[in-house]
Structure formats: structure tokens, C-alpha cells
């Protein structure tokens, strides 16, 4: 069979290649797919496609449009789990290209759906195809980064995954800029914006595709010697993807990620109404949007800072900090609300969201510590199903508990207190999962009897 430019064997870096050329390739992909966090900027315009200035009875409902993001996040987790072994086998260039095709064409199909006002095309385009682009793109650089940076795996994966947080910071103003540019008395400009963004994102992701390189099999950073005396929870052995999910450690890590994400994602989705209701009359909608932006910044910054710190603290202790500090801050938030202190309230959530981002960015290095580098990308893909579950669980917990309390006569300003204590309980479960972490039993380790293993097709 003829080999193509996209194949792994054609992406092996020559001797002397600067390994710091790979992180921008990974960032190019993650900055694009991070657009998903800013999808809500399209929510209201998508409900006015026919009425243009207002929503008519035949326009799409906000609840219908809201499903698009949920489908995309569920497909992110599912596609990462299903295609993880394929991504590991074909390497970063082909998987990044596939992700670019899925994500870019997802926008174009959605634009066709907007043109014909068929919401199922929006679900199929952005939700299903775009969601697959998200999942494949998210895991495509992870295992290669860990192989390029065996000495600093946390920092390396933190750099890429920071891009996913940063993507929303670019996409939100870019979407507004484009919609303002394309809008007319007869159009909201969303259709043209979707087409433009599909093309821009595809081209930008191609920067990653064209510059992706994998290290040679025996490559090591200059002067770096693998330590014989590793930390207790860092293994020299490898566990295959099919064996990994039979270990208790995989499910403990699944619980760690799921609890950490659930505690953050619900708040992130409700941040704007929450601060306006808790500080009723003191925070305007525009200031609340500023609060959401600030949280996004801390979400992004936490990814690189906490993941880099985990290279020194160790992964287990880093998550201990996330859970214990998270519990302390969540339990203090209702008190900060009663005090009327906006500064303390904002500071608490800024730290919480930095740890939410840090949890995402540190998990690939934690997986590498527990299961080795051999199939780490594929194992990471399967672990991301925890994100899909948390993506549904977090918002449901926050929204329904708030509504239940309001329906039972609790003032809006106090309706979030119980939610905060439930978040503490979730974080406690995560803490216990992390606390129970022990090295993987030898019986699960891969023993080389033949050629190096390639994940099954």
C-alpha cells in the first residue's frame, strides 16, 4: 500500500529537530476546537433566523438550539473513546487532519441547516460531525507531547490543553465580530459566520497538520537520563489500552476527572445568572459577562500553571490540592455571598475554575504515570467519557437544585447555597478516589515478547 504524507512513518522528526516546534502544532488544533466553549454566543441569534430582530413562533426555540452543544460534548467523549486506539496507531498528523475535516465541515453542514432552517442538520453538522472533530482533535497531540517531553509531561500536555480553554477567548469575540459584519436587515449573519469560521478553523488546524512531527523510537531529550528511582506512583512499565480499563486505577481516575469536571462545569454554565442573582441589583448583565470572561481566563491559565506544577508536586498531590482547596472554597462561597463581598466571591470562583482547567490538563500526565507511555493517548480517549457524563451531570445538578429551591420559596440570592455544599460532596468523592490510588498491579503490565504493540484496529 502506498504511504501518504499523513502517515506516521512520514512524520518522524529528523535528528536535531527542536521539540518545542510540536507544542504550537498542538495549540493550533486545540485553539480551534476550544471554540466549543463559546458556542453559546450563537444561541440567541439562532433563535431569530426567521424573525431577524426578534424570535417568531416558527423560529427555533432556545432549548432546541441548546441541544447542539450537549450533542457535541457527548460526541467528544464518545469519539475520543472509540477512535483513541486509531489516533494512537496513525499518529498526530492524520488524526489532526481528520479532526480539521470533521470540525470544518461540521460548520459548513450547520450553515446548510441554517439556510434551509432544518435543525437536524445543525445537530448533525456541529453536534455529531463537529463533536467527532472535537474528540479526535483533543486527544491527537497528547501522546506525542508526552513522548517529546518525558522530562516535563505535565507542562507539555498543559500547553496544548490550555489551548482548548483559550479557544473560547478567541471564538467569542470573533463570532460577535463576524456576525456584526455579516448582519443585514434580512439576516442575522449567522449563516455567513458559520461558513467563514468553518473555513478559518480548517485552515488554522492545517498549521498543526503540516508541522506535526513524532520523535524517533529511541529519541530522548539531550542530557536527560530516565531516573531509576521514580516516585511511588510513577511507573516504568506499560499497560495496554485494553488492559488499562480492567484496572481499578482506571476507574478511580475516571471518578477523579468526573467529579472535578462536574464541580466546575455546572458553575461555568450558570456563572452569569448566578452572580446577578446572588448580588441582586449590584451586578449588571454586562459586568456578569465580564465575570464569565474572567473565569474563562482562569480556566485557561490554570491548565498550564497547575499541569506544570504537577511535574514537581506529583500528580496525586496536585489533585489532593484541587479537591481539598475546592471543598474549602465551595463551602465559603455562600458566606462570601452573605457578606456581600464581590471581590472574595470572584476570587473564590477564579481559583475554583483554575483547578477545573488544571484537572483536565493534568490527567494525561497522571495516566502516563500510572500506565506508561505506550497507549497513553488511547487510554486518555477512553477516560474522556467521564467528561461526557460530567457535561450532563454538572449543569443538571446546578440548574435543577436551584429551581427546586426557588419553587419551594427560597430567595434567589440563597438558592445556590445547597448547590455549593453538593459540589463539596462531589469533590469529597473525587478526593477519596484519588486517595485510594495505588500503583497498577504487575499482572496488568505489558511484557514484550515480540515487536512493540500497536493498538488494535
Amino acid at each position: 500500500m502506498s504511504s501518504s504524507f499523513l502517515d506516521r512513518e512520514n512524520t518522524i522528526a529528523p535528528p536535531g529537530y527542536n521539540r518545542f516546534l510540536f507544542p504550537p502544532a498542538a495549540l493550533a488544533v486545540h485553539l480551534c476546537i476550544g471554540q466549543a466553549y463559546a458556542f453559546s454566543t450563537f444561541n440567541l441569534p439562532l433563535t431569530k433566523l426567521l424573525g431577524v430582530t426578534h424570535s417568531t413562533p416558527v423560529d427555533w426555540k432556545l432549548t432546541d438550539v441548546g441541544w447542539t452543544f450537549s450533542i457535541a460534548i457527548v460526541l467528544l467523549g464518545l469519539s475520543a473513546a472509540v477512535f483513541g486506539t486509531w489516533v494512537e496507531r496513525v499518529g498526530p498528523r492524520k488524526s489532526m487532519f481528520t479532526s480539521a475535516l470533521c470540525f470544518g465541515s461540521g460548520f459548513i453542514i450547520s450553515a446548510v441547516g441554517i439556510h434551509f432552517h432544518e435543525i437536524w442538520l445543525l445537530y448533525l453538522g456541529y453536534g455529531v460531525l463537529g463533536g467527532c472533530g472535537l474528540g479526535i482533535g483533543y486527544i491527537s497531540p497528547v501522546s506525542t507531547l508526552i513522548k517529546w517531553f518525558p522530562d516535563r509531561p505535565g507542562m507539555a500536555t498543559g500547553m496544548a490543553i490550555m489551548g482548548f480553554g483559550g479557544g473560547a477567548l478567541i471564538a467569542a469575540p470573533l463570532s460577535i465580530l463576524l456576525m456584526d459584519h455579516f448582519k443585514s436587515p434580512t439576516s442575522t449573519g449567522v449563516l455567513e459566520t458559520f461558513v467563514t469560521m468553518g473555513v478559518i478553523y480548517f485552515m488554522f488546524m492545517m498549521i498543526g497538520v503540516l508541522s506535526a512531527r513524532v520523535p524517533a523510537e529511541d529519541w530522548k531529550p539531550a542530557g536527560w537520563v530516565e531516573s531509576e528511582h521514580r516516585r511511588p506512583l510513577v511507573t516504568n512499565a506499560n499497560v495496554t489500552v485494553d488492559m488499562a480499563w480492567r484496572t481499578p486505577q482506571f476507574w478511580l481516575l475516571w471518578g477523579v476527572l468526573c467529579m472535578n469536571v462536574t464541580a466546575g462545569i455546572g458553575v461555568l454554565g450558570q456563572a452569569s445568572p448566578m452572580i446577578q442573582e446572588i448580588f441582586s441589583g449590584k451586578v449588571t448583565p454586562s459586568a456578569a459577562a465580564g465575570f464569565v470572561g474572567l473565569l474563562s481566563l482562569f480556566n485557561m491559565g490554570g491548565r498550564i500553571i497547575w499541569a506544570s506544577a504537577s511535574d514537581y508536586l506529583g500528580r496525586r498531590y496536585t489533585y489532593m490540592v484541587f479537591f481539598l482547596l475546592g471543598i474549602a472554597l465551595y463551602s465559603l462561597v455562600p458566606w462570601f455571598g452573605h457578606l456581600g463581598s464581590r471581590a472574595l466571591f470572584v476570587a473564590a470562583f477564579a481559583v475554583i475554575l483554575s483547578m477545573y482547567g488544571g484537572g483536565f490538563a493534568t490527567i494525561p500526565a497522571y495516566l502516563r504515570d500510572m500506565f506508561g507511555t505506550m497507549n497513553v493517548g488511547a487510554i486518555h480517549g477512553r477516560l474522556l467519557t467521564a467528561w461526557s457524563v460530567a457535561g450532563v451531570l454538572g449543569p443538571v445538578l446546578v440548574n435543577y437544585i436551584r429551581q427546586f429551591q426557588i419553587d419551594h420559596g427560597v430567595p434567589k440570592a440563597q438558592a445556590y447555597s445547597i448547590t455549593m455544599y453538593i459540589m463539596c460532596a462531589l469533590l469529597l468523592v473525587g478526593f477519596l478516589c484519588n486517595f485510594a490510588m495505588r500503583p497498577v498491579d504487575d499482572k496488568f503490565h505489558y511484557r514484550a515478547l515480540g515487536p512493540a504493540p500497536v493498538p488494535a484496529k
Binding site: N18, L31, I207, G290, F291, L297, R342
Partner: protein
């Protein structure tokens, strides 16, 4: 190699910097 290094990092950091700046402008409204 150095030129490629500079171009690649600039390509990703310039849009990211723009996004961070826009977000900070918005975030300042919280304290006004």
C-alpha cells in the same frame, strides 16, 4: 529551524493574545 519556530509560535500566540485582551477588556466591567 529558528524561523519556523518563530513563525509557528507567533501564529498561535497572536490570536490567543488578541482573545485574552478582548476578554480582559470585558472582565474590567465587573469592577467598574
Amino acid at each position: 529551524m529558528k524561523f519556523r519556530f518563530f513563525v509557528l509560535w507567533a501564529a498561535v500566540l497572536i490570536p490567543l493574545g488578541w482573545g485574552v485582551m478582548k476578554t480582559l477588556q470585558n472582565a474590567l466591567k465587573l469592577f467598574n
